[in-house]
């Protein structure tokens, strides 16, 4: 089971945090600081797995963004790497050429897409089509650029 997923930039800015275990906010902040620091201090050609407490961190960098999952000891590391990749593909399919900015400005969508893919730390749907379809359904009220610009700015 995945315990949590963190997305952060090379500068250490957190872009997304998803927790599948219940922890107090203070503890979460501490963990985030610690993990960002561990991952960013690793050299490039090292392996993608790091032991951390009684969990394992599996991480991969896509452009400027690090994706990091904390999994249990008996979980499959390689497949977790592909969980990350599949998530990136889902984001990509939804946003089209996804970049860090998409995740910053549409953070809520990034969360929604993740929920369609993983629940309670377990993969629920691996088909790209099904997972993104759910989100796209929700965007049925697709609006035009004019409609968007006519909305109040704050």
């Amino acid at each position: 089971m995945i315990h949590f997923i963190l997305l952060f930039s090379r500068q250490g800015k957190l872009r997304l945090q998803k927790w599948y275990t219940t922890l107090p906010d203070k503890e979460k902040k501490k963990i985030i600081r610690e993990i960002v620091q561990i991952i960013l201090s690793r050299n490039q050609k090292t392996c993608s797995f790091v032991d951390w407490k009684d969990l394992k961190l599996v991480y991969k960098r896509y452009a400027s963004l690090y994706f990091c999952c904390a999994i249990e000891d008996q979980d499959n590391e390689l497949l977790t790497l592909e969980v990350v990749h599949r998530y990136v593909e889902l984001l990509d399919r939804y946003f089209g050429n996804v970049c860090e900015l998409d995740i910053i400005f549409n953070f809520e969508k990034a969360y929604f897409i993740l929920d369609e893919f993983i629940i309670g730390g377990e993969v629920q749907e691996t088909s790209k089509r099904s997972a993104v379809k759910a989100i796209e359904d929700s965007d049925m009220l697709q609006e035009t650029v004019e409609e968007y610009m006519n909305k109040p700015a704050f």
Binding site: T46, D102, E125
Partner: protein, 941 residues
């Protein structure tokens, strides 16, 4: 800011985010946020009712602010309001806010639950999914209470859409993990298994995770899943790379589902049915064969997905540990990966091989890779990979390779990363001890450790070398010589001084014949280090000096001179000062005889589990390694010391035991009248109410029954002894009471040691039991110890422990004390070994509700499986391996032996590391016994 926001983007939100990004400083950001918070607050408080869109936008802004790391203390109500919107996106934001910022505000929880309830009942699949996601995301106890009954219904209802089923399965999994007690087992459980047959791969993918978790708790209820999983797996494995369309991932058919199925199978022993087993072996072979085929794609995703399945298949093969052919093939496959250019694969291969090393079928095959692994330890650029290599070397070490591996690890230590030095030191120390044929090699290795990595040699390691040297007289002379030589190095580590000081203090005489290491030379050498050392080391050296005075009378003058020096006698550190003063005094007043007695050579240490092994386990948690799996591989290869006789017979019995004539021989019922028969069936007289008895009672001649109520902490003290037989029962400033006991069947013998910690004798010392007891010497000299022996017979089932009353005069003041004797029902446990089939048969036979006692409780101590095992063994039952399909659970069996009846007991302990909870189930043929044992044992974790 992106030109177009996707979907129903919120322009105001985008502007805000963009403003925040443009902030040049943290202060500016906080200012901008505060402005926004004020704005939102006024909107929410304003008279004008907000439309859904604005509400959504503001809630989303609050969420963004929270995720930036700021506190949010309002907006929850508005978020809850969004739940009742029938616009999907508004509802979605409401749920997201609640998932991230859940608040235990009871009023809101009720409203939230109401919203979720409505959506679950809406029959709109997208709304239902949102509600289920929210329950899973929050995963709190309140959620479980509200929905643990509803979610299973949704899951197995015939008309539920596939996507909802998927969400429901995993939602239920989360609730089950969070609050296992709240998820009811019911008629739905049987139907869940059949989800493995579902047409929709997504449903199966979600359901397997749920089943895997559930079957760990109740393996019997889910047994049928094995054959279903095998046939599902077989269909996937044998399908062509494109058959599964959307569920094919980079030419690998359904990797997630395959891995999950393989995980599920690891919850069970190999299938018994030949056809199922054959099919499964075929699957595993296919997976191994595929690894040899040329890749269908050059993409890393392809090879990762394919190898993920391969590693999981190998994990299953290792779990079964019954197919030599597959084990060796797995080992060869991993051997190929050891040289792969992908670091990830090398890492995983090393890790996986660690487990293979402990299988008797593949241990030899693993050993053929020793050179590659040593190479990895030396050349890998990534420390985590080197660490795995060190783990594997440790796991594959046996007598034939020990010298080589220890040498390689030692040489690696010189350049090892600081982060893993301590662990390597521990491992080297353990291997050296375990495989030492020749103890001089062991001593050399440990001294090398101290030389190379003194800073990382923990106390446990150097304590251990001293214990071993003291317990083995064949190595003492060599050790003395070697430490003496080592101390001659111009700069030597403080740990070396400690070991050297201790060993020379005990065995310096063995090398004193050589003029190059005459007593004065030894002393001079040690003392030359003295001033560079910490207080603790100096204190140790002072003890060495006083031992020298005893060993070598000719050093007395020199050493007294040192002790008398102002820097010692008036040392600012109270410990050093005290030692100097006392040792000086001791050396000047005591006769040689007294000195020889006081400073006698240390008695052998009781043999117990190596403290460093315990430390390594603590550091790493349980893992594959020689300590856990050794027994399987080559029988009783315990730690070298482990073969010694157990402490109860090896330790020197105190003379008083001899006097009473109870030494040796199996405990037999003592002749009537010759000693105490603690009849534990009759409960001790209830203590009379009221305060302490009048003073003159203490002067009474006969042993009156204990009349004071037991100490308030008596129960707690008793508790400490449920799982162990020896230790300190009680201690205060005046006295210490030690206990040593052994039990066999319904008989037991207990030695009580009363130690006087003061320098003043205790007078009228009368320990009494509820029943008559033989008197001990009525006085206890200052600093002395008296011993009392009790023979115990358990006549029948009992609950309360016998009371031990104690009264004596210290100085003129009467003292009294009442304790509970550490005799509990479980002491009369006789362990019984049995196989899984036997166990489950008996388990089923004891299925009446009153025969079972169960407790679910929070862990009071860290959940370490090794500690738990030790406690269960100490409790007295046998620990049955490989009975419970879930390796995390503990299962035990035994018989409570009393004179009048025997009670068979089965127990099962299920730790839940995530919730930090245990579930303990006891089944015995007697209701009161089940309950009592359950109560006793539950207090131990």
């Amino acid at each position: 800011m992106p030109a177009v926001s996707k979907g129903d983007g919120m322009r105001g939100l985008a502007v805000f985010i963009s403003d925040i990004r443009n902030c040049k400083s943290k202060e500016a950001e906080i200012k901008r946020i505060n402005k926004e918070l004020a704005n939102i607050r006024s909107k929410f408080k304003g008279d004008k009712a907000l439309d859904g869109y604005s509400k959504k936008k503001y809630v989303c802004k609050l969420l963004f602010i929270f995720l930036l790391g700021h506190d949010i203390d309002f907006g929850h109500m508005e978020a809850v309001n969004l739940l009742s919107s029938n616009k999907y996106t508004e509802k979605q934001i409401g749920y997201l806010f609640i998932s991230v910022l859940v608040n235990s505000n009871s009023e809101l929880i009720r409203l939230i639950n109401n919203g979720i309830k409505n959506d679950l009942a809406s029959r709109n699949p997208t709304f239902m999914c949102l509600a289920l996601h929210c329950i899973a995301n929050v995963g709190s106890r309140e959620m479980a209470e509200a929905f643990a009954a509803e979610v299973p219904r949704v899951l197995v209802a015939g008309d539920t859409m596939d996507s909802v089923k998927q969400s429901a399965a995993l939602c239920l999994l989360r609730l089950h993990k969070a609050c296992p007690d709240l998820v009811p087992v019911g008629e739905w459980t049987a139907r869940v298994v059949h989800l493995l047959n579902d047409q929709h791969m997504g449903v199966v993918t979600a359901a397997v995770s749920l089943i895997t978790c559930l079957c760990k708790k109740n393996p019997d209820d889910f047994k049928t899943c094995v054959s279903l999983a095998v046939s599902r797996l077989s269909r996937i494995v044998s399908s062509a790379s494109t058959d599964l369309q959307d569920y094919t991932y980079y030419f690998v058919p359904a990797p997630w589902l395959s891995v999950k199925l393989l995980r599920l199978l690891q919850c069970y022993p190999p299938p018994e049915e030949a056809a199922v087993k054959g099919r499964l072996v075929e699957c595993l072979e296919t997976v191994l064969n595929k690894a040899q085929e040329p890749p269908k794609s050059k993409k890393v995703q392809h090879s990762n997905a394919k190898n993920a399945i391969l590693f999981e298949a190998i994990a299953l093969i290792i779990h079964y540990d019954s197919e030599p052919n597959l084990l060796v093939r797995a080992c060869n496959q991993l051997g190929q990966f050891l040289q792969h250019r992908e670091t990830n694969l090398r890492y995983l291969a090393l890790e996986s091989m660690c487990a293979l090393a402990s299988s008797e079928f593949s241990h030899e095959a693993v050993k053929t890779h020793i050179d590659t692994v040593i190479g990895a330890l030396k050349t890998e650029r990534d420390v985590s990979v080197r660490q795995r290599a060190a783990d594997l070397l440790y796991a594959m070490c046996d007598r034939s390779t020990a010298q080589q591996i220890v040498a390689e690890m030692l040489s690696y230590l010189e350049t090892a990363d600081y982060a893993i030095r301590e662990e390597i030191v521990l491992k080297v120390a353990i291997l050296a001890e375990k495989y030492a044929v020749d103890y001089s090699w062991y001593v050399d290795t440990i001294l090398n450790l101290i030389r190379i990595a003194g800073d990382y040699v923990s106390e446990e390691v150097w304590y251990r070398v001293i214990q071993i040297v003291i317990n083995r007289d064949d190595v003492q002379g060599y050790a003395a010589k070697t430490v003496f030589e080592a101390l001659q190095a111009p700069a030597c580590h403080e740990n070396m001084v400690k070991v050297g000081g201790y060993i020379l203090g005990e065995f310096g005489n063995l090398i004193a014949g050589d003029p190059r290491s005459s007593p004065l030379v030894q002393f001079g050498l040690l003392h030359s280090k003295f001033h560079l050392c910490s207080v603790a080391t100096r204190a140790l050296l002072l003890s060495t000096y006083i031992k020298f005075i005893n060993l070598f009378p000719e050093t007395k003058g020199t050493i007294q001179e040192v002790l008398r020096a102002g820097s010692q006698l008036r040392n600012a550190d109270v410990e050093l000062q005290q030692r100097a003063v006392e040792y000086l005094k001791l050396s000047s007043i005591a006769s040689t005889d007294v000195l020889a007695t006081v400073l006698e050579e240390m008695p052998p240490f009781p043999e117990r589990e190596s403290s460093i092994l315990a430390k390594l386990k603590k550091k790493r948690g349980p893992g594959p390694g020689p300590e856990g799996d050794e027994g399987r591989r080559d029988g009783g290869a315990e730690l070298n010391g482990g073969g010694e006789p157990p402490p109860s017979t090896a330790s020197t019995p105190s003379p008083s035991a001899d006097l009473l004539g109870f030494r040796g021989g199996a405990p037999a019922p003592p002749p009537a009248g010759s000693s105490l028969l603690v009849d534990v069936e009759t409960p001790p007289n209830p203590p009379p109410p009221g305060g302490a008895p009048p003073d003159d009672a203490f002067l009474g001649a006969g042993p009156p029954p204990p009349d004071a109520p037991p100490l308030p902490e008596a129960d707690e003290l008793l508790n400490k002894f449920v799982c162990k037989n020896n230790g300190v029962l009680f201690e205060n400033q005046l006295l210490q009471i030690g206990v040593k006991s052994e039990f066999r069947q319904n008989l037991g013998r207990m030695y009580l040691f009363y130690g006087n910690k003061t320098s003043v004798p205790f007078q009228s010392f009368v320990p009494t039991l509820a029943v008559q007891t033989r008197a001990v010497e009525p006085g206890v000299e200052g600093g002395a110890q008296v011993q009392q022996v009790l023979n115990i017979e358990c006549l029948g089932e009992f609950r309360g422990a016998p009371l031990l009353g104690l009264r004596f005069r210290y100085g003129g003041a009467p003292q009294s004390l009442t304790l509970k004797l550490p005799v509990t029902l479980n002491k009369f446990f006789q362990a019984s070994e049995m196989g899984a089939q036997d166990f489950f048969q008996r388990w089923k036979q004891l299925s009446m509700p009153q025969q079972e006692a169960q407790k679910i409780f929070k862990a009071a101590h860290p959940m370490d499986p090794e500690v738990t095992k030790a406690k269960l063994l100490g409790f007295g039952s046998a620990l049955l391996e490989k009975v419970d399909p879930n390796p995390d659970n503990f299962v035990g069996a035994g018989i409570i032996q009393t004179k009048t009846l025997q009670v068979g007991c089965l127990l099962r302990l299920e730790p839940n590391a995530q919730a930090q909870m245990y579930r303990l189930t006891l089944r015995t043929s007697k209701e009161s016994v089940s309950k009592h044992l359950c109560d006793l044992l539950a207090m131990q974790f």
